[in-house]
């Protein structure tokens, strides 16, 4: 029997802000632009929203702040913060809340002025930590340690990592919204300034401003909205640790647990996937996730991406907006990868459109490879 959440809810509205630099604007103002666009896309006013899902590192009681600030009367409030995957997690939570009738119209939203609004440099150390006193440069340091271990165990090279960045840039060149679109070569990546060995700056995501929002409703109501609904087919979440020192195996992420749950709920295998959107905070992420998804064996992610597999024209189009590496990354990227999946499945992705895309596989990552949330979206035809 199909899982009760398979196809139970659909995204009926999406909204973005411009990416890059939005000087003089607070993160809530940026969030507001995205919300306004998402509500317009759904053809509704804010009065219909009765569930708010959102979080930010700066907003301790986020859901309350957002409901007050945007004048929402909500029955479900969720500001769970598990890092950048919070919004992917929110999709799973919103699906459950909608399905059970706790709310009827869920709004998931995020805004950030990470580039222009806050002091640059020095990422967050998340609360109590026995790692932090050693002054790792977080979050990049945790991912660098994972990359170093993967290189040691499997012979993954800096060239392999560079292919992830180059593939992302090739997609970004097809996306007018992407922040970095100038040509990028493997050699450019290898020559780039070192940040935390083995990572150079091109192994690291952007720091941009940007906002994104989406409206989610039950499938039975979705057909009343003006745009093609995009259905949530499956979801799975898992965590392995908080601090990187507590990750059992730095070469295996919680995707290995989350993705099979999402596939089972969706009733798909990876052969059914047309387009992949993952949280590429750092180049090693994409390699780890492809392995843990099952697209290649553990340890073979480097040669897999170096063969051009995920670049435009490759067999597994991945991060078709340019990803966190080249399109947009304002601190928490989880919203943006879902929106790209929706645009691909709506068939409105322009030059970067994956022809005939019906099923999108998404994965949000949070903390220091700590939380992973896999989502499968599909068109009406996949129900």
């Amino acid at each position: 029997m199909a899982h009760p959440l398979r196809g139970a809810v659909a995204v009926v509205g999406i909204g973005l802000t411009p990416f890059g630099e939005l000087p003089g604007r607070t993160h809530l103002e940026i969030m507001g632009e995205a919300i306004s666009n998402a509500l317009a896309d759904a053809g509704i006013t804010k009065d219909k929203v009765d569930g708010i899902f959102g979080s930010n590192f700066s907003d301790a009681l986020g859901a309350l702040l957002y409901a007050e600030y945007f004048g929402l009367k909500v029955k479900v409030m969720d500001s769970t913060n598990i890092g950048g995957s919070s919004f992917n997690n929110a999709m799973q939570e919103a699906a459950a809340a909608l399905h059970l009738g706790l709310c009827d119209v869920a709004l998931i939203a995020y805004g950030s002025n990470a580039r222009t609004g806050t002091r640059r440099g020095g990422g967050p150390n998340f609360g109590r930590s026995f790692d932090a006193p050693y002054r790792p440069r977080q979050p990049v340091n945790s991912y660098a340690l994972a990359a170093a271990r993967h290189m040691y165990q499997y012979g993954t090279t800096k060239e392999h990592l560079a292919h992830v960045a180059v593939s992302a840039r090739q997609w970004a060149q097809k996306n007018p919204r992407a922040f970095m679109r100038e040509p990028l070569t493997v050699e450019d990546c290898l020559k780039a300034r070192m940040v935390v060995d083995p990572f150079g700056v091109r192994d690291c995501c952007l720091v941009t401003d940007g906002g994104a929002a989406m409206v989610v409703v039950r499938a039975d109501a979705a057909k009343d909205y003006p745009n093609q609904p995009i259905y949530l087919l499956g979801a799975g979440a898992a965590s392995t640790h908080n601090d990187i020192s507590q990750m059992p195996d730095l070469t295996v992420t919680a995707v290995a647990q989350a993705a099979p749950r999402a596939y089972a709920m969706a009733g798909i295998t990876i052969e059914d996937v047309d387009v992949i959107e993952v949280y590429d905070a750092f180049t090693i992420n994409t390699i780890l996730f492809l392995e843990d998804f099952g697209f290649c064996k553990k340890g073979e992610g480097g040669p897999f991406v170096a063969a051009g597999t995920i670049a435009p024209g490759g067999a597994h189009p991945l991060n078709t907006n340019g990803g966190g590496l080249s399109c947009v990354h304002p601190g928490m990227y989880g919203m943006f990868l879902m929106i790209e999946a929706v645009e691909q499945l709506r068939g409105v992705a322009g030059d970067r459109q994956v022809e005939g895309a019906e099923i999108a596989l998404c994965n949000g990552n949070g903390g220091y490879l700590s939380s992973q949330v896999t989502l499968v979206f599909g068109t009406q035809a996949t129900l």
């Binding site: 440069r137 271990r149 040691y152 070192m194 060995d197 020192s245 730095l250």
Partner: protein, 132 residues
């Protein structure tokens, strides 16, 4: 009805004990009397089995580098430094720095030994290559 409080829920907690040990120059980790496994960082329940029946053991200080990185700094911010994950001979893994050699020379699999030292006025467990 309230049951008797486990002995390890009374008095200063494991965080305070950890820092007290460190202040006294001792690198001690927790040992679970129930499942027999060791754990670090300090916690009130065994992370393996959940038991409250644990005590402290002296760590041997022997470890192996599980992964390593070099934090690159602008010259005005100070020298580059090492950040490593160390697998202790007793089982647990911890973040630390391997000192006494250039940061890029620290390699995965390297045998290291713990010492107690200061970093930014904080007393911490640090490591140096074994035999150095």
């Amino acid at each position: 009805m309230a049951s008797a409080r486990a002995a390890n829920f009374q008095g200063p907690g494991p965080d305070a004990m950890w820092f007290e040990n460190l202040k006294n120059g001792r690198f001690r980790i927790q040992h679970c009397n129930h499942c027999g496994k060791n754990f670090f960082y300090p916690r009130p329940l065994c992370v393996h089995c959940g038991s409250t029946d644990w005590g402290w053991i002296d760590a041997s200080g022997k470890g192996t580098v599980y992964s390593t990185s070099v934090v690159r700094q602008r010259p005005e911010d100070g020298p580059d430094y090492n950040i490593a994950l160390i697998d202790l001979a007793e089982g647990p893994r911890m973040m630390s720095r391997v000192t006494d050699i250039p940061a890029p020379d620290v390699t995965i699999g390297m045998a290291v030994e713990a010492y107690i030292g200061d970093l930014d006025k904080q007393t911490l467990v640090l490591f140096r290559p074994s035999g150095n």
